[in-house]
Symmetry: C2
Subunit: 327 residues, 2 copies
């Protein structure tokens, strides 16, 4: 049968704030995707350079500026904010975006559910976003996909959900050096614990994913408990007795009962890398992504895929629960 073609939408003008490793990959993906046009890039470390050149691809005629204020002085529809991990880090950029009427998609992990750890900040950002008529959302592969959007998509096929268990196992040997640093690979156990205490180590946005799952199930959690411990195991490339990576868990409890459990291992040489979602309920579901979802590539993908739904969404600080699948 014949399928009618959709009409092409208008070009979306994109600004990138933060041209680090992820920002550079996002830039390449924006350039490659029809319907998106890169109009400005901000990164204080790369001021004056051509953004394409700085990202290791062809020069693109967009000169990197120092900050969002300059980047947003152009006509921009959506800003991809790829800088800090805490809501306080990105708040000033969101305020600027609101003043310019620019939607925001950010990989800031805590912004995935800002209400959890910083409810007052969340309320302020939501108010500013509504005033400015913009949508603000935090997403990425995790938080944003593996441990929240994916299990909730699966749970939507269930009549009843009793428990959700997500496992993500990442072989850090196959990822970038910053990931290995983030998981403490090569440290002593003492250094690991000191790094965790100083919040230099560990995966961010974990409690946020857990709380989002409870919220999405219609079973808001009473409590989210997170733990983190070193993986000390004989692994190629890891000195004996040193840390190969970490194991983090988040448990979401409601009415004294565990509803959600998230288990994350990111370590050098982790066996059987995968993402898995097991839903106890009616019907039960047992799902595995063999080999797992590549973290960096998945983050770039989720950010780009959020552009159309965010543009279509009503104003305010939103979560991935609020977005249409495609728009």
């Amino acid at each position: 049968m014949r399928v009618r073609r959709g009409t092409g939408g208008a070009v979306v003008r994109v600004s990138i704030v933060g041209l680090g490793a992820i920002g550079q990959e996002v830039l390449k993906a924006v350039q490659a995707r029809p319907g998106l046009r890169l109009v400005s890039v901000a990164d204080p470390a790369l001021v004056g350079r051509d953004a394409g050149d700085a990202a290791g691809v062809d020069a693109c005629g967009v000169v990197v500026v120092a900050g969002a204020a300059e980047a947003f002085s152009r006509d921009v529809d959506v800003a991809l904010v790829l800088t800090g991990s805490s809501v306080a880090d990105v708040e000033p950029v969101v305020e600027l975006a609101a003043a310019h009427g620019i939607d925001v998609i950010s990989t800031c992990e805590d912004l995935a559910y800002a209400d959890l750890a910083t409810p007052e900040l969340a309320r302020r950002i939501d108010a500013r976003a509504r005033e400015g008529g913009i949508t603000v959302v935090g997403t990425g592969v995790n938080p944003g996909f593996v441990m929240d959007r994916l299990p909730l998509t699966l749970a939507a096929a269930c009549v009843r959900v009793d428990h959700v268990h997500v496992t993500r196992i990442v072989d850090a040997a196959k990822r970038r050096a910053p990931l290995r640093a983030k998981v403490g690979a090569g440290l002593t156990v003492e250094e690991f614990h000191a790094g965790v205490a100083a919040r230099r180590l560990g995966h961010r946005g974990f409690g946020e994913s857990c709380a989002l799952v409870g919220l999405g199930l219609g079973l808001p959690l009473d409590d989210v408990r997170t733990t983190i411990e070193p993986v000390v195991a004989e692994r190629p490339g890891v000195p004996a007795g040193r840390v190969a990576g970490l194991r983090q868990s988040a448990v979401g409890v409601r009415g004294g009962r565990e509803i959600v459990r998230l288990d994350l291992e990111m370590s050098v040489g982790a066996p059987d890398p995968r993402d898995a979602v097991v839903i106890q309920g009616d019907p039960p579901l047992d799902v595995v992504i063999r080999g797992g979802t590549h973290g960096d590539r998945g983050t770039v993908g989720t950010v780009l895929s959020a552009i159309a739904p965010v543009i279509a969404a009503p104003p305010g600080l939103k979560t991935i629960l609020d977005l249409a699948l495609v728009a």
Copy 2:
């Protein structure tokens, strides 16, 4: 950390149109889910009976009426229309719902993407829905989940998608007799082909899922080709030489290249029942739901899960692409 509880929303008043096997299961699920209240049920075959009693559970005080006109004369927020498979079958009910300002969620397979086979009817329904301020959507486990929503949710984690392949293998021995009848189990090969020609056999909504995937990928298909063939194999409970079930395929093509492939086998004793999604792209994804998603239970789940997003959605004839994950 402490999680703030959400505020409970208002009770949603539900009408069920069609109290067949799925309707009865939907009724039980509506009764079991907080926040939903069953206010009317229509089914010409069960007029005058208590709907709960007719569904094999406790009497619920809702007396079954003959048709949607009567059912919609009550104060209803959303109608669950669980009757026909063709858009023309359900159009009159949708017209009534529009006149009463009642949102519609239907398991009508062709309604999942009415634009594919019946574009004029789709435009008329869309216009009526907008006039009446209602949202209309077709969903279920398939179409609605396994072969469209799920692969598109996964694809949203990709920077680039080259090809999507979904496989669904259902052991018909473990499902209801109507499913075995629908797949031709026990027929001769000649009877099977006659049944296909008469559209008595086969899975509906297959081309619709394929087209939705193309649309959701931003790669609207030029053509969707569907095939159907009998599975003739030695299987317990199937007389030698008779049909055990069917294999259906849909292939979506764009610019001469295959973009989407959907393979469905539903047969008595089908080995290794599962749902699988393989995405070739960046990153590639290889996903399996071990044992598969139970068809009836999944359909009931998807219908109930659509209620909140449909209520939140703007008016018009929508697809599962347009709905928020949770709302």
